[in-house]
Subunit: 238 residues, 2 copies
DNA sequence: CGTCCCGTTGACGGCGCTCAAAACAGGTGG
DNA sequence: CCACCTGTTTTGAGCGCCGTCAACGGGACG
C-alpha cells in the first residue's frame, strides 16, 4: 500500500486512515487526491484574519502562531500550534477569525472543508481523531482564559516558562525559547517591557537562567509556586 | 418510532440520530438505554473542578456557567453554556478542568464517555454534530482570549452588553440580564466594583439604561464603537 | 563604521484592584 | 405596614501594578 501523501505519523487524517485495517487501498488513494501539501518559511503568513476560509490544514511539521489584530491596538496571540494539530476548521465558509504565521519552517497538508466533511461522514475513525484535537485545543484555550483573566504578570510568565518544559524532562536542563519577547508578550497579554522586566527579576532572584535563545530552571519549586494560583498548566498546545 | 429520552430538538445526540432516515428503531432504543436525565435548580453545582469526569452531558434546557478557581484568588468564568451545547467531554478519564454551576433551572442528558465513543464510531452524523459544537466553543473561547488579553474595562463591558442582544433584535428594546455584577466581573476578568462603575458611567453618559435585571441600549453606535477595537463579537455561547 | 532590530532599564502616569462604607432591595417576622 | 436582617449594588479614597514613552546597549549585517 502506498503511504499517504503527507507522511506525518501524527497526521489525524493519514494516521487514522492508514493505521487500522478497515480501509482499503481504494479509499486511501481517493483521499490522497484530496490532499495538497504546502511549505512556508519562518515568519511567513499562512493565511490572514478576515480572508475566506475554505480549507482545513493539518500541521505536518513546524510551529504556527495564531494571532488576532484589533482595529486599534496590539496583537494578541490566541494560541500556538505544533505538529499534528488542525487549523482553519473553526468556521465553515466564513472568514478566518485569526491570522496564522509560521514561527519555524512549516509543512502542512490541506483539504477543502467540502472534501473533509465527506471524509468525516465516511470515516468515524477520522472523526474521532478530529474530536480529540478540538477537545485538546479547547482545554488549552480555557487555560489561557484562566491565566489572562486571573493571573498577574509574574504568574503568567512563570506559567509560560513551565509550559516550555518537555514533559518528564529533568528540571535542571535548559530548553530552547523560540519566541521573541514581543511574541511572549502577545501570548501573555502583557507589554514587551513587562515581560523583559519579569525575566530580569527572575534571573536576579536565582529562579531561572536565560542565556540567548534558551531557558534553564534553577529553582523549579519557586517558579511553580509563582505560576501557582492554580495547577500550573501549559500555555501552548504542546 | 419512539422519540428520544431527551426530547430537546437541539440535542446533538437525539437530533442527529432521529432526524435522518438512516437509523432504525433498534439503534434508537439502544441509545435510549445509554442516556440518563438529570435536573438541577438554579445555583446548584452540577460538578466540581477536580472531580472524576466520566460523563458527557448535553444541556437540554437552562444555562450553565463554567468556572475555575485558583488556589488563591478570585473565580474566573471560562464560559457560559446554553441549551444544545456539550459539557464534560474535554478530558477522558481525567478530572474536570472546571466547575459547572446552574445559572437557571437546568436539564441535562448524560452519557458515559465509554458509551459515547461507541456511539461516535457507529454514527458519523453524531460525530459531525459533536465536531460542530467543539468548533463553536473554540471560536467563543478565542474571542474571550482576545478580549481578556487586549481590551480595557470599558470595551469588555460594552462587548458583554452587546453579546446579550438576541441577534436581529431591535436595538431599542430591553433584554434581560441574569448575571449578577460579581458574575459579570468573573466573566470579564474584572472586579465587581469596576463593573459597577462602568455600568454607572454608561448610564450617566446616556449609552444604556439599566433598571433592575435588564439592560436597554440607548446609543448602540457608541456602545459598538467602545466595544470596538475589533469586531464586537459575543462573549457567551448564545 | 553605520544601521537596524531586539532586549534591557528607568521614569512616570493611569487604569483598575483593594478596602471600606453607605445606599438599596428583598425577604421574614412582628 | 413597619422594623429588621441579609445580600447586592453603588460610590469613594488610596495605591500598586503595569502600560507608555524614552533612552541605552549589543549583536547581525551590509
Amino acid at each position: 500500500m502506498l503511504s499517504c501523501h503527507c507522511k506525518n505519523e501524527d497526521c489525524v487524517l493519514c494516521g487514522a486512515l492508514f493505521s487500522d485495517g478497515e480501509h482499503d487501498a481504494t479509499q486511501a488513494c481517493e483521499l490522497r487526491g484530496l490532499l495538497s501539501r504546502r511549505r512556508y518559511s519562518a515568519g511567513e503568513t499562512v493565511f490572514r484574519e478576515g480572508t475566506a476560509c475554505i480549507q482545513l490544514m493539518v500541521l505536518r511539521a513546524g510551529q504556527l502562531k495564531l494571532t488576532t489584530m484589533p482595529l486599534v491596538g496590539r496583537e494578541q496571540i490566541l494560541g500556538l500550534l505544533v505538529a499534528g494539530q488542525l487549523v482553519g476548521f473553526e468556521t465553515s465558509e466564513a472568514p478566518y477569525p485569526y491570522t496564522a504565521t509560521a514561527l519555524t519552517p512549516v509543512d502542512v497538508c490541506c483539504i477543502t472543508h467540502k472534501d473533509m466533511l465527506r471524509v468525516l461522514e465516511d470515516n468515524p475513525a477520522v472523526a474521532l481523531r478530529v474530536i480529540q484535537r478540538f477537545r485538546d485545543e479547547l482545554v488549552q484555550a480555557q487555560i489561557m482564559i484562566r491565566n489572562l483573566g486571573i493571573k498577574p504578570a509574574h504568574a503568567r510568565v512563570a506559567s509560560f516558562i513551565l509550559s516550555l518544559m518537555p514533559i518528564g524532562s529533568d528540571h535542571s536542563e535548559a530548553f530552547p525559547l523560540v519566541l521573541s519577547r514581543l511574541e511572549i508578550a502577545e501570548l501573555l497579554g502583557l507589554s514587551e517591557e513587562t515581560v523583559s522586566r519579569v525575566f530580569a527579576e527572575f534571573r536576579r532572584n536565582g529562579l531561572i537562567d536565560a542565556p540567548h535563545g534558551e531557558v534553564r530552571l534553577l529553582d523549579a519549586r519557586r517558579v511553580k509556586r509563582l505560576a501557582g494560583m492554580g495547577t500550573g498548566e501549559a500555555w501552548d498546545g504542546t
